[in-house]
Every structure is written in C-alpha cells, then in structure tokens.
Amino acid sequence: MASQSASVSEVRDGKTKVEVERPIVEFLRMYVRNMAAVVAFFVFMIIILAAVFLPMFVAVDPFEIVWLPITPPGQEGFLLGTDNLGRSMAVQILYGARTSLAVGGAAAAITLVIGLLIGSLAGYYRGWVDEVLMRVTEFFQVLPPLLLSMVLVALFSPTLETVVFAIGVVSWTGVARLARAEFMRIRELEYVKAARSIGSKDGRIIWRVILPNALPPLIVTAALTVGAAILFEAALSFLGLSDPNVMSWGKIMGDNRDYLLEAPWTVIFPGLAIFVTVLTINLIGDGLNDAFNPKLRER
C-alpha cells in the first residue's frame, strides 16, 4: 500500500524531498483514463457554452414566426427547419438548452441540499431522529414522482421556479438514503472517534469530518441527478406543465407532437438534444465514479 513508498521516504528524510501527487492531480489522472468521460466532458462544455453565449448572437426570438410552417431542415436557410407555427427550430433548441440546463442544475441542487440534510442527520444521530426522517423519506418515495410533481406544478402557477421546486421535492429521496448510508458507515470509523476524543462538536463532526469523506459517491449521484432532472423537466413541459413563456426542449416536443408524422424533425431534434445532453452527463458521472473508486475499474 501507500505505506511502502512512504517508509522509503522516511529513511531518506531530511535530504530527499518526497515527490507526492496532490489529491486533485491524482483524481484528474484517474478521470482522464476513461475516454468516453473525457469526450463527454468536452461535449457537455460545448453544450453549456452554446446555451450561454449563442443566443446573444441570434436576433430572433424563439417564439417569433420566421417562415412558413413545417419547413424541412436545410431548406430556405433554416438549419433545422421550422415547426408547425413557422418558428425556427434551431433558435428554439438553443433557447431551450438554457432552460433545460438551468432547471436541471437548480433542481439537482435542491435535491442535493434536501437529501444531504435529511440523510446526514438520520445517519449520524440514528435512533428516533433516523426513525422519523426515514418515515418522511419513505412517504415521498412511495408517491409516484411524475404525478406528484404534476400536482405541485398544477397547484401553483406554472413558472420555472415551481418546476424546479417540484422536481427537487420528488427526487431527493435517493440522495437522502445514500447520504444516510455513508454517514452510518463513516461515523463508526476511527478518525470520527478521534475527532470526538479531541472534543469536537457534533456540527463540526458532521460537516467537516464526515461530509468530505462521504462526498465521492454523492458527487457522482449529483451528476446523475442533473441528467435525471433534465429528463424530468422535459417530461413536465412535454405534458404542458411548464412556463408557457419560456422555451424548453420538452415544450418544443409537446407543441409539435401532433405533427410527428408530417414533420418528424420538430420532435427528433429536441429529443436528440435531450438525449445527447443526458448521455454526456451520465458519462461524466461514470468518469467521476471511476476516478473516485479506482479499484472498481480493474475488473
């Protein structure tokens, strides 16, 4: 193990400077070994940059009618054609990317915060705290997530905030269970005992001692959660449960679903956008997983 190389350095100490890799360098080295994850990372970066910057150079509003409806891709200078109302598909998808990524990111953040809070407290304190929090978690787990989020969006006004909130509320349970399991495992380790033996408070032990060690699987889950949240948002807006004034990939598909046969590109392109984005995110998650658990790769 690591002790071998370290004991060699111990012998030579005082003279030789021990060459050691910083953890972040080690991590990157492991990540880079997964080619698919590296490609996915760059594709995802391109998607983000395009979503953030390209709309600034487009003079057209995504809701603006620019040509005849159902123009096939490539014709009349429309790269991806027009939809059933004559709106530019390319512009819609570009703006839709902003929504999808923003909603996905924000919903994943909410998921993570709720899940981490509930999971860490339950796993650390166990006993009745665990009992109560896990019953609450189970309550949310048994409700069908899509149905619950539809009800939530329908109940409140269909704005982006509501959608983010609805997705967050229905998807935190997995993170909570994972965080709980990690906390239960780590709280029994010697260095947590050692932290207690130097007089550290519970808050410090939870957030500064256990949490950093519990992060690797949680980061992987967070990445996958972003992908799941994007899918969720697409599902909701496909069903018409999203802000009607904001373009999103699910909404494009929903708006054009009646023209699936006459104008398949109106559904295929936004579908492809969702597919590629979620795929890259999942591949990144995979790469993170490999980098955090190098031993799992050697199968």
Partner: protein
C-alpha cells in the same frame, strides 16, 4: 517523575458499565477501581473483550450509548466527577485535559485533511489561537514527536506517511493541548516491532518532559515491563489483580496473571536445548451475559476449588499495594 499519592489526579471508583444485547444485559465493567497520581503510568492488561477499551472510553465519556450505559460509580479528575458533568464541559475536557491515542494509526487520521490541519484542530477547539498560530503549534508538535522535516510533513496527507509516523501524528494530536492524562489504547499493536520500541521511547520521553499521566492499555506484557509503574490486570470486566509493575511481573498471584506472563514467548532459552512449549491459557473469555455466581475465570483456571463456582472472590491484600481477587489469596492470607 514525582508521585503524589495523597491527592490522586484521576480516581476511578466502582465503575459499572452495562451493554444491552440481544441476549440480555452484559455487565462489561463490574466495579473498576483505580487511582493515579500525576506523572504515573498505569498499564491495563487483559485479553480482547475484557473491558480495557471500555474503561478508556468511559473516562473520555465516549461509551456508545445506546447500547452502552454507565450504571454506576465515579470517575474523578482532580475531584471533579466526569460522569456527572454535562456534555459541554465534557467536550472541554476531551483533548484538553484527557486525551486518547487509538489502536489503528492507519484509520485514526482523517484522509481528507493534512496532518497539520488535524493537529491544529485540537488546538483551535480548546485554545483561542489564530489559524496560523495553531499551525505553528502543529509544526512544533511534529518536531516534539520527532518527525523529520516537520515544516514539510505538516502539509502532507495521512496516506503519505508510514504507520509509525501516523502514530506519532496521533500522539502529537493527543498532546497538542498538554493534557494531564493521556490514554493510549494499544498504541503499538498495529506497528512493526522496531517501530513499537520507538513509540514507547517517545511516550516515555514526552512524559518526562510534561509530567503527563499515562494509562497504557495493552495485551503485551513486554510493553508493561517497559512502560508501566503500576499494573491492573482485567478479566471479564473486573480488575482481578493490581499492584506495582515489578510486583506483578515477578510475583503474580492470580492464576490468570501467571498464565498471561507464562504465555510470553522467550527468545533465548538457556541452555539452548529443546525449545520450550509455548504455553497458553485454555478456553476463551466467557460471554458476559452468561457469567455465573462464581469467579469468571474458574472454567479456565488450573487451580480451581469448589468454592470458586459458588462465590465471587473478594479482593485481598497480597502485598504492599498489591491486590488479588482470588480465593487462593484468601487461603494464603488465613494460613
């Protein structure tokens, strides 16, 4: 080393700890008594599961509850009963007045922080120092535990250090606030023999400098011979023999202590004829939920008497400051 017998620093009286198990209540500690003066070293020996570590955790106020419960007794540090103070006060005691070194140096350090950070944390918890001063103290402590190039090591992560070095870091952490009592729970079990001796030497040296009282928990009789002033031998939650280290090692009275000592392998046999058979104590420590009325060691004891099954032996004075809980000692005392 000065030994002030009149006002003991740490006094443990009739300590009782119970654990709730599926098979009923296990009395893990059953009436532990000992007292320690400043600068003394007490060695606690016994097999796995005899309650050594729980004794240590009780003093730290870290007995896992549930399932554990301190059922009775007192633990007095300079007259203050640690069992009746609130959690807030106990946190102030831990790491500052009483601190502890754990058995596994490989897992006792948090892998995500540098060793300097972790030592500094102890200081920050108890003394109102700035981060920078705390880090300086960390470097100073690493130097005190004889880690080479402390200025560099202080910025390294635990995985970059060897087992012996990590144990030194643990000692540095435990001593950073100059505690009055240091509990070392099998500090060298996981280390190489050569490194073990270094760690013991270091502990002794630091004790001479700081006058810290050490409670050394071990099952290694060699460590006892090297380190301890006094020894308490534990079996199934009780101290069955206690006395000065010299007394216990040279003149053990309890059959269990005699057994423990004869289990230590000797390197040189003189004259070098055939290798003597390594002795063992037959059997294992009985489950604590199934202790009978009699002596807990009776089923394994070579010199058992009918009386041992019926009654628990009381503690008898078998010498100056030498106590033995065995009916043999009673027989000796009465004849």
């Amino acid at each position: 080393m000065h030994k002030d017998r009149n006002s003991p620093l740490l006094e443990v009286n009739d300590l009782q700890v119970e654990f709730k198990t599926r098979r009923g209540i296990a009395r893990v500690l059953d009436g532990i008594d000992f007292s320690l003066g400043a600068g003394e070293t007490l060695g606690i020996v016994g097999e796995s599961g005899c309650g050594k570590s729980i004794t240590a955790l009780s003093i730290m106020g870290l007995v896992p509850q549930p399932p554990g419960r301190v059922a009775g007794g007192t633990i007095k540090l300079k007259g203050e009963d640690l069992l009746s103070v609130d959690e807030r006060r106990m946190r102030a005691v831990r790491g500052n007045e009483v601190s502890m070194i754990f058995q596994e140096p490989m897992t006792s350090l948090n892998p995500v922080y540098t060793v300097g950070n972790q030592i500094a944390e102890t200081v920050l918890e108890h003394e109102g120092l700035s981060r920078r001063d705390a880090m300086d103290r960390a470097t100073e402590m690493l130097r005190a535990v004889k880690i080479p190039a402390p200025e560099q090591r202080v910025r390294e992560y635990p995985h970059q250090l060897s087992g012996g070095m990590r144990q030194r870091v643990m000692i540095a952490m435990a001593l950073a606030c100059r505690p009055q009592v240091l509990i070392a729970d099998e500090p060298t079990t996981a280390l190489d023999v050569t490194v073990q001796a270094q760690v013991f030497d270091l502990l002794k040296e630091l004790q001479e400098d700081t006058g810290t009282t050490i409670i050394l928990i071990t099952h290694d009789m060699g460590a006892i011979a090297e380190m301890a002033d006094r020894v308490a031998v534990m079996y199934a939650g009780r101290i069955i023999e206690a006395g000065s280290a010299a007394d216990i090692l040279q003149d053990p009275r309890h059959p269990y202590t005699q057994g423990l000592i004869s289990c230590v392998p000797h390197l040189v046999s003189d004259p070098p004829v055939q290798r003597p058979t390594l002795l063992e104590i037959p059997g294992v420590v009985p489950p604590l939920t199934e202790l009978g009325k009699g002596c807990a060691f009776e089923p394994r004891c070579g010199s058992r008497m009918p009386r041992c099954v019926r009654e628990k032996p009381a503690s008898y004075e078998t010498g100056p400051e030498h106590k033995t809980a065995c009916w043999l000692a009673d027989a000796e005392a009465s004849t």
